[in-house]
Symmetry: C2
Subunit: 328 residues, 2 copies
């Protein structure tokens, strides 16, 4: 069924089942605004816009995955601040030809990613648009003494990356050029496609960090590792040396990426891993604990004095992150 047939109010009624219900939600979706008692701590808030044909497309991402990824991108920002999520708001711009099934599958993917980690759907807005648009706001709380800022790195810190890098970019490559990668086994293709479609925000990681160190800087790698290192260094007033030989790249990504593996690990983006700068002894233990809980990760370099971000042969890390306004 087309959304124009159902109408806005009919659609909102159909979507009611996705709204969160919990004692701390005092007024759920359906009033002028949601009211929630978020509990103790400071409030953490972030918002993101995603557009069809810029951030997602029917060719690579069905509605369930658009929902999942748009929730994950925002939850990853909360993880990068050390926050625990409690609520989500979503604005959906829909072209009139959009089917009700598309919208419901979007909400299924959105809540499949967010509700299990405590981020309940609080409210939303649906309206007419030329092309599909997703606006997500994620809300969380954080102990003000345990905020993971970008500006807290110090020369001498080790740089830890959680999980693996480049897998989302490899998944996109397989989705865009299926024939080119058809010779690879389907487990390889499925692994990288899953990384692209269903990234997992690293909300478990900040508590591990603060159990080991009272100070740490962090940023997510949504725009690539190079971008994350550059931003943490710029805000912290330091430089970094990165060892490209030890970037965590899994076997499936390596097979798909071939010679591009390091470039995709550095600049592919949309991995939603965390870059964390902390004291080296704590970093070693953090990597052990990340391995123990099945996330994995690696020490990829160290913060140094100065402002240059280079590899171990003193070459600037040039691979750019995703700059949204670059002309194609």
């Amino acid at each position: 069924m087309d959304i124009a047939e159902l109408g806005e109010r009919g659609l909102i009624a159909r979507l009611g089942r996705f709204f969160g219900q919990a004692p701390h939600i005092l007024v759920p979706g359906g009033d002028d605004a949601a009211v929630v008692a978020p509990g103790s701590g400071a409030l953490v808030a972030t918002t993101d816009l995603l557009f069809e044909d810029v951030h997602f497309g029917d060719r690579t991402t069905g509605p369930f995955d658009v929902g999942w990824r748009s929730a994950a991108a925002n939850l990853s920002d909360l993880a990068a601040m050390g926050a625990a999520p409690f609520g989500m708001l979503v604005g959906l711009g829909l072209s009139p030809g959009t089917s009700v099934e598309w919208v419901e599958a979007f909400y299924e993917g959105f809540t499949a990613c967010s509700a299990p980690v405590g981020a309940l759907l609080l409210g939303g807005d649906t309206c007419r648009a030329k092309s599909r648009t997703v606006a997500v706001t994620a809300l969380g709380t954080v102990d003000p003494r345990r905020i993971l800022r970008r500006n807290a790195a110090r020369p001498g810190d080790a740089l830890v990356v959680t999980g693996h890098l480049g897998a989302s970019r490899a998944g996109l490559a397989v989705l865009l050029e299926a024939e080119r990668y058809a010779h690879l086994g389907s487990p390889v293709r499925e692994a990288v496609v899953a990384a692209h479609r269903r990234p997992k925000p690293r909300l478990e990681v900040p508590p591990l960090v603060f159990a080991l160190s009272g100070r740490a800087a962090a940023m997510d790698t949504s725009d690539g590792l190079t971008d994350a290192i550059a931003q943490v260094c710029a805000q912290s007033g330091c430089g970094a040396v990165v060892d490209l030989a030890v970037l965590p790249i899994d076997a499936a990504t390596a097979q798909v990426a071939g010679k591009q593996a390091i470039a995709w690990a550095l600049g592919g983006g949309e991995d939603y891993e965390l870059l964390i700068a902390l004291e080296p002894g704590a970093a070693v233990q953090l990597v052990e604990r990340l391995a123990a809980i099945g996330i994995g990760g690696a020490i990829v370099g160290r913060a140094v004095a100065g402002d240059r971000v280079v590899d171990t042969e003193d070459r600037p890390l040039a691979a750019p992150g995703f700059e949204h306004f670059n002309r194609p």
Copy 2:
């Protein structure tokens, strides 16, 4: 200058001056997320999406006014819950040809509407889009015993509307058909155009309501008065009788609207006034106090048993509010 020349990071740097600075903002914009200590009370959150050529257009609304209106629309939702705002998040989708001046004027209008009422800019997101898109999230706090819900109207309540109705629709008419209304004096035209471009969220009103009554229902009239009454009645399980002869329509709107005045007051939308249902004695006092502070308002009808929303001659109020998915 074109935003593509400046780049995303250059643009973000230029926009830094718009971010709020206050002791309760623990981490301002520029990190993965904003962190704020909102103070006591429950958290109120709402989000809205606005699209160029659906909700605004260059022909009728310059960038300052797009910013103002998008802030006002969300602050109006907070007012309708009885909340006091403390923060805003804004996502901007920009076509590559957009000028930096457009973006800065947008932020000037956005903060001119929001900062004076305590809603500081906490964070944002700018990215490439086919056409300009604005996603706003407004955050506020409310005493949980003083939440203005839509479902709290009771048969016998008076229905109060703040300010005047139809003025925004009249302003749009003047902007779209300048020649048709050229014969009216410029003060008339300017008054309705200002109402369209710079609506004022009624954040002063909820404290007046609760000073007079422990119970009230409210909704804003962003989609028209008929829509607001219908929704409050549906959620409260009551009907309403509306006296069309007493709708608050100012002289400028009446001149522009002519025979359409009542239709525009009922269904024009985007007035961002509040509909409030409360006990009749308190309603009389509320209207007096609204007059005393220069907002104005009127008792336009009463809630009744049943589920019908009719005028004083028992005719259903048919003028529809803005249904976003209706085909043109």
